[in-house]
Symmetry: C2
Subunit: 225 residues, 2 copies
């Protein structure tokens, strides 16, 4: 479902070139569960933003569901980002003036659901991450782990078929982490595709395949189940 | 060096009262190394903000170095926050328009150092967290783990005697985490006081005492060395 050829993202700063993603060929099948690991600064978030259609590559091709992303219209891209893909950001990226509930509802507005449907799906997603008592809080009125869980709920609320999660458990205690990984497991068994960035080996073991990045390139790609 | 009696922080939302910190008596000696653990939302960050003099309690007393914080002048409080305490925030709290180097220099301006001294201390702190090649980047041009390391460097640059670190390794791979914990270890052996919030048992083991919070109260307090 995801196919990249020679994918590159280069930043130019002054006379320096930073090859955040330095030529990645990757093929991820429908229903796969991949963990993406690698040192700080190795290009994981940059790569995730490229495959989430949230950023454009400097070079290389990226096909999603067989279609070349660079040839898609704005409507098609918006559809991919909001309906097909659920993205959990490493730094959460919640809107500060909206409540947790409103933040989770946001992608559902693009999906064209009625207000009643949106409310019901958003409430359900917040319940899945154990945040029902906090749904009217704004991000500044939430703990770090609670904000992370709102970001997770927002990614899952629209039932996307591809889940891209960038370090979704970094601010969570182990009990809550395991709960979240359980939710993701269920989504995987329902046939969805999961790509998860993590630094923690205890989280990576939930995946079926682990890809290691270093300096913007794939260093290792192994099956673990 | 840190003493709290019946410390409370209550948030009122509508007709609901949230007891984020619900009566904490804690005594931390000079040179101690304490890990603070507990579930998401149990009050760890709120407690850290209170003892870091970044927030005022709803009730209770807090003594730092024998002095009652509620009787301190603004100057004395500013001195405590910028010179005595180094604080690593859970969500980094970097200024987006400043470079990594400028962000790290910020607390040193309060300390009244000359521009040359500030530059040298800031560069040294960034080198300790392995970020020299990135010191002219702004936060938006840094990876999650790099931003976390800037936040750490900023906390350490002014050689504070009390280090309050709220989940300082959440976004770091294990190699970098161990490096950072090594730096903190050295600071501890130099006689500084360390209080570290963490969810990870592998990080908590560096401490000599572990305090567990639950629902804003101390649930357990044990020596581990
Ligand atoms: N401004 C606020 N208004 C209302 N409630 C708040 C506010 N700030 C924090 N809270 C609540 O206080 C509780 C404690 O928050 P705190 O940030 O201290 O938790 P924590 O232990 O650091 O959690 P985490 O491990 O997720 O970072 C949470 O339930 C949170 O929702
Ligand atoms: N806008 C930018 N300008 C310049 N360099 C950038 C920019 N954004 C990212 N970088 C650099 O690209 C590299 C890869 O960043 P990326 O965020 O993908 O790393 P990462 O693997 O997610 O790291 P972490 O584990 O710390 O989150 C880093 O070295 C970073 O400094
Ligand atoms: Mg990242
Ligand atoms: Mg916290």
């Amino acid at each position: 479902v995801i196919q990249t050829y020679g994918l590159r993202k280069t930043y130019v700063m002054g006379d320096q070139e930073i090859h955040a993603v330095d030529g990645i060929d990757m093929s991820i099948k429908y229903g796969e569960y991949v963990a993406l690991m690698g040192p700080s600064g190795s290009g994981k978030s940059t790569f995730m933003n490229l495959i989430g259609a949230l950023d454009t590559p400097t070079a290389g091709d990226y096909f999603i569901a067989g279609q070349l992303i660079s040839t898609m219209s704005d409507d098609e891209l918006a559809h991919i980002r909001n309906k097909e893909i659920g993205f959990v950001f490493q730094t959460f990226n919640l809107l500060p003036r909206l409540t947790a509930l409103q933040n989770v509802e946001l992608p559902l507005i693009y999906a064209g659901l009625s207000p009643e449907q949106r409310l019901e799906k958003a409430r359900h997603a917040l319940q899945q991450v154990d945040l029902t008592p906090r749904m009217y809080h704004k991000p500044s009125e939430l703990s770090g782990g609670q904000r992370q869980r709102v970001a997770i709920a927002r990614a899952l609320a629209g039932d996307p078929s591809i889940i891209l999660a960038d370090e979704p458990t970094g601010n969570l205690d182990s009990a809550t982490s395991n709960e979240i990984m359980g939710v993701i497991d269920v989504l995987h068994r329902q046939g969805n595709t999961i790509i998860l960035v993590t630094h923690e080996p205890d989280i990576a073991v939930y995946a079926h395949r682990v890809v290691h990045l270093r300096d913007g390139k794939v260093e290792k790609d192994e099956s673990i189940k």
